[in-house]
């Protein structure tokens, strides 16, 4: 059933996603790293669904929906900020601080 290896793989992918979020500064790439994290979690759900039944897979279905919705809104937000600043470099987006 490959439960352990799947969970391990998902942990590794999640960590890589987190690392990406931590080190990248392009908002879009950052968002992609977050998608990677979600994918890692999905893998966990799928792996666990083997023992717990269909509900895990259904959850993944919902997660994908959410991811799609987030992508739509997120990319819209990125577009909106790009209109203001002509950049998606997060290091330059620090109007708000203190």
């Amino acid at each position: 059933m490959l439960l352990g290896p799947s969970l391990a793989l998902s942990a590794v992918l999640f960590a890589i996603g987190v690392a990406g979020v931590l080190i990248r500064r392009n908002a879009i790439v950052l968002f992609m790293c977050i998608e990677l994290m979600l994918n890692a979690v999905n893998l966990t759900f799928i792996a666990l669904a083997q023992v717990h039944g269909m509900s895990g897979q259904i959850m993944v279905f919902f997660v994908m929906t959410v991811a799609a919705a987030e992508a739509a809104v997120g990319l819209a937000i990125i577009l909106a900020i790009f209109r203001h600043t002509q950049t998606v470099d997060l290091t330059q987006l620090n109007l708000l601080k203190g």
Binding site: M1, L2, L3, G4, P5, S6, A8, L9, A11, V12, L13, F14, A15, I16, G17, V18, A19, L22, I23, R24, R25, I28, V29, F31, M32, E35, L36, N39, N42, L43, I46, A47, A49, Q50, V51, G53, M54, S55, Q57, I58, V60, F61, F62, M64, T65, V66, A67, A68, A69, E70, A71, A72, V73, L75, A76, I78, L79, A80, V88, D89
Partner: protein, 187 residues
């Protein structure tokens, strides 16, 4: 080592390498492409893990639709590759360090086998039969076998998980309105 494990290993390596490359590429486009690659690898694993329907959606919706949206935006904005180092050096150290520690913390779950899970969930003494503890898993497999992949997932989705399913409609509506409001040129 059986064939399934071997294939899993291949897919896993593929996924990890693709993910690593994805987060380290300067160019957003190539990052996106490597992410797609990761998703394909994961879809392969999903098949190994008896989630054929999800694997299909993964390819169709995720790798297909969502990532195309990403690429579309990247192209639209014509974002160049990041210039210079991605982060200052200590940023790298902190970022990678935190991620490594986090990963290590989560990686302890590699020790989970079905048997261990069964032991933990069950209140009975150690060494119970997992199939007794996880009847739902067995039932799901049986349902898949009898009604096909889609039927197995559809029934609970539209019965037990009807409410969440309906909520997703609200979610998508909100996302649609939001995206439109934010992205359209003039209000």
């Amino acid at each position: 080592m059986d064939v399934v494990t071997l294939v899993f290993g291949v897919f896993a390596l593929w996924a990890v390498v693709s993910a690593l490359v994805c987060v380290t590429r300067r160019s957003p486009i190539s990052s996106a492409m490597w992410l797609v690659s990761t998703m394909f690898a994961l879809a392969g694993i999903y098949v190994l893990l008896n989630a054929e329907f999800i694997a299909a959606i993964q390819v169709l919706v995720y790798a297909g639709a969502v990532m195309v949206l990403f690429l579309f935006v990247i192209m639209l904005l014509n974002v160049d590759a990041e210039i210079g180092p991605m982060r200052r050096s200590y940023g790298w150290v902190v970022g990678v360090g935190a991620a490594l520690v986090l990963g290590a913390q989560l990686l302890v779950m590699r020790g989970y086998s079905v048997q261990r899970l069964a032991d933990e969930i069950s209140t009975m003494p150690l060494g119970v039969d997992p199939s007794l503890v996880f009847p739902e898993g067995a039932a799901a497999r049986a349902a898949t076998a009898s009604r096909g992949v889609v039927g197995g997932i559809a029934e609970p989705l539209f019965q037990a998980y009807l409410i969440p399913f309906e909520i997703t409609s609200v979610l998508l509506l909100a996302a649609a309105i939001g995206a439109v409001v934010l992205a359209k040129k003039r209000l």
